[in-house]
C-alpha cells in the first residue's frame, strides 16, 4: 500500500468511527432538552429522572465525539495537503464557521449545563441544554455544506489552479446540502430513538423478570415497587422507562419517515449530479427502470472498464425510475453508457503531472467499487427500514403498559440499537466511496464550473511518507478500538445502574431531606 491508500483507509476509519458518536449526540441532545423542558413545565419527577439518566449517557458519548472530532479537522492538512491547498478557499470557510459559530457555543453551554445543576437559575439551565443541542445541529449543517460541496461543487471558479469561492450564497444553499442536512439529522434521530427504545425495553423487562411489575388476566400491567433495592425502582421508575420507550419508538418512526423522504430527494439529485454513483449503487450495467433486489456476478471494479458480468436476479420494475424521476418509465443510465461519457468529458488517463506520483499517466477508472456501493446502499435501506418496523412492533407489544416477559425479545431490542448506527455508517460509506475516483466530484450541470473537480489521487500530502501514514493509521486505530471498549463498558455500567447511576441522591442519601449547601451538586 502506498501513502494514498493508507491515507484513505485512515480517513475512512476515523470518520466512520467519529460518526458513531455524532448521530447519538445530535439526536439524544435534543431529546434531553425536550425532557428537561417537560420537567420544567410539569414538575413531574419522572421527567427529571429521564433528563438526568439520558443526559448522563449523552455525556459519556459526547466526549468521544469531541475527542475524535479534533482528528477530523487536523487530518485535512496533515494527510491531504494538496486537497487543502486546492479547496481551502471554499472548503475551509464552512469548517471555520462551524468552529466559531457552532462548536464554541456547544462546548461552552454544555459545560454550563453539566456543572450548572442547582447553580444556575432553572430557566437558564434549561436554556443551556437547548442552546448546546441546537448548536450541535447547526454544526452538522456547516459540516454537510463542506461535504456537499465535494459531492456537487457550486459557487466556485478555478483561479490560478485552485478552487476559489465566488458565491457564498450558492455554497451555503447548495441543493445537495439542503437535502443531505435533513437526511443526516433524521438519521441521527433514528439512532437516538433506537437507543431510548432498546435500553428502556431492557429495564422494563428486568422489572418484570424481578417480579416488580406483573400483568393481570387481560395482560395489562400491574406496576409494583421493590422495597429492597432503594427508592429508584419505584413506580416513578416504571414511568421513566415506559415513557422513554414510547418516546424512543415514536422518534424512531418519525425519523425513518424523514430519512426516507429526504433520501428520495437525495437520489433524484444524485442521478443528475453524480449519475455514476447511482448506477454503481444499483450495479446497473445497462440503462433501465428496475430497482435491483439482488444482483450476482463480479461486482468488483478493479481496473474493469465494463460491467457485463453483473446479472440482476430480482428486480422491481419501474422502481428505480420512480426513485430517480418520480415516474416508472424514464430510463436511468447504466454504467456502460456512463463510462464513455465520463471518459470523453474528463479524459481516459491521469495527466502527466508530478502531483499524481506513480499514478501519473495511468488509466482512470470511473467505476466506483460496486461491491461497496451496491451493498452499502442496500444495507443502509434495510437496517433503516428494519429499525422503523421494529419501533412500530415495539409500540404494539407494549400497548398494555409493559413489555412481554421474554428474554429473547429483550435481547433483540438491546442489540437492535445497533441497526440505526449501521444504517448511518453504511450510508456514508456508500456516498463517499461512490464519489470515487473523485475527491471533489465534477458538477455536470452548471456552465463555467465544469473545471472544478479533483481526483483523489491528487489530494494526498506529497511530503508525507507511507511510513508516517502507516504509523498514524495503526496508532489511531488501536486507540480508537480501546476507547470504544471503554465507552461501551461505561455505558453498560450506567445503563445497568439504572436511574441511580445518574442520580446518586436516590441511592446515597435517601430521605434525609437535608442538603449540604457547601458541597457541589455536580463534580468530576
Amino acid at each position: 500500500m502506498d501513502a494514498l491508500e493508507i491515507a484513505r483507509w485512515q480517513f475512512g476509519i476515523t470518520t466512520v468511527y467519529h460518526f458513531l458518536m455524532v448521530p447519538l449526540t445530535i439526536g439524544l441532545g435534543l431529546v434531553v432538552a425536550v425532557l428537561q423542558t417537560a420537567w420544567h413545565r410539569t414538575g413531574k419527577e419522572e421527567y427529571l429522572r429521564m433528563t438526568k439518566f439520558w443526559g448522563k449517557l449523552f455525556l459519556i458519548n459526547f466526549i468521544m465525539g469531541v475527542a475524535t472530532g479534533i482528528v477530523q479537522e487536523f487530518q485535512f492538512g496533515m494527510a491531504w495537503s494538496e486537497y487543502s491547498r486546492f479547496v481551502g478557499d471554499v472548503f475551509g470557510a464552512p469548517l471555520a464557521m462551524e468552529a466559531l459559530l457552532a462548536f464554541f457555543v456547544e462546548s461552552t453551554f454544555l459545560g454550563l449545563w453539566i456543572f450548572g445543576w442547582d447553580r444556575l437559575p432553572r430557566r437558564i439551565h434549561l436554556a443551556a441544554i437547548w442552546i448546546a443541542s441546537l448548536a450541535s445541529i447547526l454544526s452538522a449543517y456547516f459540516i454537510l455544506v463542506a461535504n456537499s460541496w465535494m459531492q456537487h461543487p457550486v459557487g466556485t471558479e478555478i483561479i490560478n489552479g485552485r478552487a476559489v469561492m465566488t458565491d457564498a450564497w450558492a455554497v451555503f444553499t447548495n441543493n445537495t446540502a439542503l437535502v443531505t442536512f435533513p437526511h443526516t439529522i433524521f438519521g441521527a434521530f433514528a439512532v437516538a430513538g433506537g437507543f431510548l427504545l432498546g435500553i428502556s425495553w431492557y429495564h422494563l423487562y428486568k422489572r418484570r423478570h424481578s417480579g416488580i411489575d406483573t400483568v393481570d388476566a387481560d395482560g395489562k400491567v400491574v406496576v409494583g415497587e421493590s422495597a429492597t433495592l432503594g427508592r429508584n425502582r419505584d413506580k416513578v421508575d416504571y414511568r421513566v422507562w415506559i415513557k422513554s420507550l414510547r418516546i424512543g419508538a415514536v422518534v424512531a418512526m418519525v425519523a425513518f419517515a424523514g430519512v426516507a423522504l429526504s433520501g428520495h430527494a437525495q437520489a433524484q439529485l444524485m442521478i443528475q449530479q453524480q449519475p455514476m454513483k447511482m448506477a454503481a449503487a444499483e450495479a446497473a450495467c445497462h440503462d433501465g427502470t428496475g430497482f435491483s433486489l439482488l444482483s450476482i456476478g463480479d461486482l468488483r471494479s478493479g481496473g474493469a472498464t465494463t460491467c457485463d458480468d453483473v446479472v440482476g436476479v430480482f428486480e422491481i420494475p419501474g422502481l428505480l425510475s420512480f426513485l430517480a424521476h418520480d415516474n416508472f418509465t424514464t430510463e436511468v443510465k447504466g454504467v456502460n453508457t456512463l463510462l464513455p461519457e465520463y471518459q470523453e468529458k474528463y479524459g481516459t488517463h491521469l495527466p502527466d503531472n508530478p502531483i499524481y506520483g506513480d499514478r501519473a499517466g495511468t488509466e482512470i477508472n470511473y467505476l466506483p467499487v460496486m461491491e461497496v456501493t451496491y451493498w452499502g446502499f442496500r444495507l443502509m435501506i434495510t437496517l433503516g427500514g428494519l429499525s422503523a418496523v421494529a419501533a412500530a412492533v415495539a409500540l404494539w407489544l407494549t400497548r398494555k403498559g409493559t413489555v412481554p416477559h421474554s428474554k429473547w425479545i429483550s435481547r433483540l431490542a438491546l442489540f437492535g440499537m445497533l441497526a440505526p448506527f449501521g444504517a448511518n455508517s453504511a450510508g456514508w460509506i456508500f456516498t463517499e466511496m461512490g464519489r470515487q475516483p473523485f475527491v471533489v466530484a465534477p458538477n455536470p450541470s452548471f456552465e463555467g464550473i465544469d473545471q472544478v473537480f479533483m481526483y483523489t489521487a491528487a489530494a494526498v500530502s506529497p511530503g508525507v511518507s507511507a511510513g508516517e501514514m502507516l504509523f498514524s493509521l495503526i496508532v489511531l486505530t488501536l486507540i480508537y478500538a480501546v476507547l470504544l471498549v471503554v465507552e461501551v463498558v461505561l455505558l453498560t455500567r450506567y445503563v445497568r445502574g439504572g436511574i441511580g447511576s445518574a442520580m446518586p441522591e436516590l441511592h446515597d442519601r435517601p430521605d434525609d431531606g437535608q442538603k449540604d449547601t457547601d458541597v457541589l451538586s455536580f463534580a468530576y
Binding site: 475527542a67 479537522e73 459545560g111 456543572f115 429495564h203 489511531l476 450506567y494
Partner: protein, 340 residues
C-alpha cells in the same frame, strides 16, 4: 501591505493568543494533577476548577486550525503536513486528555483512576509541548520546497526552536496553572500554589521570552520591540505581585506577558506565515498563502459577529463558576452499582 490578509494574520495571532491564554491554565492544571496535588481530594479540586471550562477553551485550538485552513490554506497545508508525526502525538494527547476528564470520575478502581490521571497529566504536557513547538517552527521556519512540502524525512523539522517553543509553552502553562489555582481554590492548595508560583515565575517565563527574542532577532524587526518591551514589563509586574501573593494581578500580568509575547512573535514574523529554511523564495507569506479577498471578506464578517459573542458568553461562564473550590466542596465519589 494588503488589508484583508493582514487582518487575518492578526486574527489568527489573536486566536492562538486566546488559545494559549485560556487553555494555558487548564493544560497547566492538567499537568499539576500528578505533580502538585497530594491526594485524591486535591486532585478532584484541581479537576473541578477547570471542569466547566476546559472544553470551551479547547475550541480555541480548533478555531485557530480551521481559521488557518479558511484564510491561509497554504499555511495550514504545509505546516500540518510537515509536522505530521508530532501532530499525531498531539492528537493522541488531546484525545486521551478529553476522555480522561469525563471518564476519570466514573472509574471504579484506584488503578483506573491513576491511569486516567496520567492521561490528563501526560496529555496536557504533550499537547502544550506540541503546540509550542508547532508555533515556534511556524515562526522560525521549516525545510520546505517550492511546493511547500517538507524535505528530509519525518523528523526534518526537529531543531532547537522546536524545543524552545515546546518548553516555553509547557513552562508558561505550569505557572499560569498555579496562578489559576491561586484564584480558584482555597486552603492548602491555594497557599502552596502561591508559594511555588512566587519562586518559579521568572524562570518559567524565560523560555517563552527567549523564543520571542529569537524571532525578533531573526527578522530584525524594530516594530516588534514595543510588544516585546511590554512583555518584559508584564513579567516583572507579575513577579512582583506573585511575591506579594496578589493572585489576581499576578495572573493578569502573566496573561499580558503571554499576549504581548505572542504579539511580538507574530509582528516580527510578518509578512511571513511560514518561512522555508531551504530558500527564502519558498517562504509562505500573508500574500502567497492566503485565500481570495472574497473569502477573507466573508470570514471577516463572520468573525466580527462571532468572536465578540464567544468572548461574551465564555466570559459569562467564568463569572457563573467564579466561586473558589476547596476540598470541603468535593462530594463523595459515587460508585455506580448495577441494579439489573
Amino acid at each position: 501591505m494588503e488589508f484583508l490578509p493582514t487582518l487575518w494574520f492578526i486574527l489568527i495571532a489573536v486566536l492562538w493568543g486566546g488559545y494559549l491564554f485560556l487553555e494555558g491554565f487548564d493544560l497547566g492544571v492538567g499537568m499539576l494533577m500528578k505533580t502538585f496535588a497530594r491526594n485524591e481530594k486535591q486532585r478532584r479540586v484541581l479537576l473541578n476548577t477547570i471542569g466547566p471550562v476546559w472544553d470551551g477553551n479547547e475550541v480555541w485550538l480548533i478555531t485557530a486550525g480551521a481559521a488557518t485552513f479558511a484564510a491561509f490554506p497554504y499555511w495550514y497545508a504545509s505546516l500540518f503536513s510537515a509536522l505530521y508525526v508530532p501532530l499525531v502525538l498531539v492528537l493522541v494527547a488531546l484525545i486521551f486528555r478529553a476522555v480522561a476528564f469525563e471518564y476519570r470520575g466514573k472509574a471504579h478502581t484506584r488503578t483506573a483512576r491513576n491511569a486516567w490521571d496520567w492521561a490528563i497529566c501526560l496529555g496536557s504536557f504533550t499537547a502544550a509541548f506540541g503546540v509550542g513547538a508547532m508555533l515556534a517552527l511556524s515562526t522560525t521556519g521549516l525545510p520546505l520546497n517550492a511546493n511547500g512540502d517538507r524535505v528530509g524525512g519525518p523528523f526534518a523539522w526537529f531543531n532547537m526552536y522546536a524545543v524552545l517553543g515546546g518548553i516555553g509553552v509547557v513552562a508558561f502553562c505550569l505557572v499560569q496553572g498555579l496562578a489559576f489555582l491561586g484564584l480558584k481554590t482555597d486552603g492548602e492548595i491555594r497557599t502552596r500554589a502561591a508559594r511555588i508560583l512566587a519562586r518559579w515565575l521568572p524562570v518559567a517565563l524565560l523560555p517563552l521570552a527567549a523564543w520571542a527574542v529569537a524571532v525578533v532577532l531573526l527578522n530584525h524587526s524594530a516594530t516588534a520591540l514595543a510588544p516585546l518591551a511590554l512583555a518584559v514589563c508584564a513579567l516583572v509586574f507579575a513577579w512582583i505581585h506573585a511575591r506579594k501573593t496578589n493572585e489576581g494581578l499576578a495572573f493578569t500580568g502573566m496573561g499580558i506577558f503571554l499576549l504581548a509575547g505572542v504579539a511580538a512573535i507574530f509582528v516580527a514574523a510578518y509578512p511571513n506565515v511560514l518561512p522555508s529554511t531551504i530558500d527564502a523564495a519558498y517562504n509562505l507569506t500573508v500574500t502567497n498563502a492566503s485565500s481570495s479577498p472574497y473569502t477573507l471578506g466573508l470570514m471577516s464578517i463572520v468573525a466580527a459577529f462571532g468572536l465578540p459573542l464567544v468572548l461574551a458568553y465564555q466570559g459569562w461562564t467564568y463569572w457563573v463558576f467564579r466561586k473558589r473550590i476547596s476540598e470541603a466542596h468535593i462530594p463523595d465519589a459515587h460508585a455506580v452499582t448495577p441494579i439489573v
